[in-house]
């Protein structure tokens, strides 16, 4: 069962010639053929292209190229369908792009290729990354591998499902308000949102440019560190990427967390928190304490305003970013007698309902007479939220909480009530507003057998410490190695 391997296990086998890249890629393809009919993690995948890349990797391995030089040589990595892969289709989970083929490559994809990865698959997602359940995909909604009547979370639902169901070794997602961490939590895998500016956004189709960040979804924390090492760093193509050194994240995983100060925000004990999620997360925090961490109460007083601020800022940015989908330069066009009619018809037909809702909200909060009352006020509240975090990080090294207030909910349960869906992002959203880094790691199961995630948040550019703590926790638990009961 080679497709169940982690990156570090797989590269050891490839290096020892116990397995070839072609075999592991074929194993993933076979796995997709057997389980993805039910799970819908993939919108599409190009088998021939993946096998051709695998053959090149095998040749490089035979020529003596080592994983010290190319850390992902021969490792199949699947990609959320919002990141541009040259000469492959790109849909963003939407119909509006029609038969779009990407004429260029995202920086993260170039970096993965340089590291020797086999890039394949277009992973299912909420349309334009707007959603928390992958039900807003214009394709089939993805399903949770632990219970296919339930949602996998979102918007990177396909990225989490593909990893949790062993259809790939690792994947990339994007996180604007929790879209990597929440599905990772609901599907029982690891999801890392790097600090804003850590990873280039060049080639990531923009939803909310000041909040979006690409990150890995993996089978364990060690793999997340390996992936982050490959994709991080300054990129002249993204003016918001930070020109600062990338530390060796993998080397930091020494299991040592003695004296680490971990804060528990008192505002996170909110009414909507499921008691079973709470007890699992409490046990995880107790484990951190047992390993030598010092646990203390902290306060993030503006927590209750974060969701409102987020839905103003994110939708305002989205309304501007998504103006480019106009049927002029790419995508499907619905004709009209003049350009305005063409635009309105193209966008009215091509966008799904949640995307329309968010563009309309974003247009409204930016419109004449409302800008100060909504958008400017939300940006000021963003300052307050960020200051809460910076103040907390003067006292503690990390913040611990549940990733999501509940485990996976049923398909269809919240579709009619967008506000309820928005409120499920309560624990993840402020990390994007504050631009800190965060990770979700498996920390237990509910009595129904659904995974629960522990979220750890680190200081801006504090990924090293974040991964170190998450890894230490993982070393002393086995939640991450449990697999869903699929055939």
């Amino acid at each position: 069962m080679p497709h169940t391997l982690t990156i570090h296990e797989l590269t050891a086998r490839l290096a020892a010639k116990e397995l070839t890249a072609s075999e592991i890629v074929q194993a993933c393809m076979d796995r997709i053929a057997s389980v993805d009919g039910e799970l819908n993690a993939f919108i599409g995948h190009d088998v021939e292209d993946a096998l051709a890349q695998a053959e090149l990797a095998d040749r490089a391995l035979a020529d003596g190229v080592v994983h010290e030089a190319k850390p992902l040589l021969g490792v199949p990595i699947a990609i959320k369908d919002v990141i541009a892969v040259k000469d492959q289709p790109l849909s963003c989970g939407s119909k509006i792009l029609g038969e779009f083929i990407s004429p260029y490559e995202a920086t993260v994809i170039s970096k993965l290729r340089d590291a020797g990865a086999v890039i394949f698959g277009r992973l299912n997602m909420d349309e334009f990354a707007m959603g928390s359940s992958t039900e807003n995909s214009a394709y089939q909604p993805a399903r949770n591998p632990w219970d296919t009547d339930r949602i996998p979370g979102g918007s990177s639902g396909g990225s989490a499902v593909a990893v949790a169901a062993d259809e790939c070794i690792a994947s990339l997602g994007s996180d604007t308000g929790g879209s990597i961490r929440q599905p990772a939590s609901l599907c029982g895998c690891v999801g890392l949102k790097p600090t804003y500016g850590r990873v280039s956004r060049f080639g990531l189709v923009a939803y909310a440019s000041s909040l979006d960040q690409i990150g890995p979804l993996t089978k364990d924390v060690h793999d997340a560190a390996i992936m982050l090492n490959v994709i991080s760093g300054y990129d002249p193509q993204d003016s918001t990427s930070e020109p600062r050194d990338v530390p060796d994240y993998s080397a930091a995983l020494n299991g040592e967390i003695k004296g680490l100060k971990v804060g528990l925000p008192k505002e996170y004990q909110s009414a909507g928190l499921d008691p079973e999620v709470k007890s699992n997360v409490d046990a995880a925090v107790a484990k951190l304490e047992e390993l030598g961490a010092e646990i203390m109460d902290i306060s993030l007083p503006h927590t209750e305003y974060a969701i409102a601020a987020y839905y103003i800022i994110a939708t305002a940015e989205a309304s501007a970013n998504l103006a480019r989908f106009d049927g002029v330069r790419y995508g499907d066009r619905i004709d009209g007698v003049d350009p305005i009619e063409m635009l309105c018809a193209t966008r009215g037909t091509g966008f799904g309902e949640e995307v329309k809702r968010r563009i309309i909200l974003g247009t409204y909060v930016l419109s004449s007479g409302y800008y100060d009352a909504y958008y400017l006020r939300a940006q000021k509240v963003r300052t307050l939220v960020r200051d809460d975090y910076l103040k907390a990080f003067e006292k503690v090294d990390l913040i611990a909480s549940p990733t999501s207030p509940t485990a996976a909910f049923k398909v269809g349960e919240k579709v009619g009530d967008p506000l309820q869906m928005y409120l499920s992002d309560i624990y993840t959203i402020s990390a994007n507003l504050a631009s800190t880094c965060g990770i979700s790691v498996p920390c237990g199961f509910t009595s129904r057998g659904l995974p629960v995630g522990l979220q750890l948040l680190g200081q801006p550019f504090g990924e090293k410490q974040l991964l170190q703590a998450a890894h230490a926790y993982e070393q002393h638990t086995d939640w991450h190695s449990r697999r869903p009961p699929l055939n």
């Binding site: 004429p103 790419y330 809702r357 006020r377």
Partner: protein, 92 residues
């Protein structure tokens, strides 16, 4: 806060069906009511955050670089002619 949906939809350049309008109108009302929560806060004198990184005017050298060829740029065009995007007539 009652939202003039027709006006906003026109600004956003999105056609809505009557069914969509009927669904979205009350949802907007509910979302805006929730968002009004922000009015509870005194934000007098608080600097707005557009962006969390202390970056201003990121410049690069003004040098010619490789970019998309016009062939590549037109590759996904719904309609094109003579190396140009074709759109409905704008001026009579």
């Amino acid at each position: 806060m009652e939202i003039d949906l027709q006006h906003v939809v026109n600004l956003a350049r999105i056609n809505l069906s009557l069914e969509e309008e009927a669904r979205i109108r009350p949802q907007m009302k509910e979302i805006l009511k929730y968002i009004d929560k922000l009015n509870e806060l005194d934000v007098e004198g608080i600097e707005p955050t557009a962006h969390a990184l202390p970056l201003t005017n990121v410049m690069r050298k003004d040098e010619v670089q490789r970019s998309l060829s016009s062939e590549d740029a037109l590759r996904n065009a719904p309609r094109q002619a003579n190396g140009l995007f074709v759109v409905p007539k704008i001026v009579e």
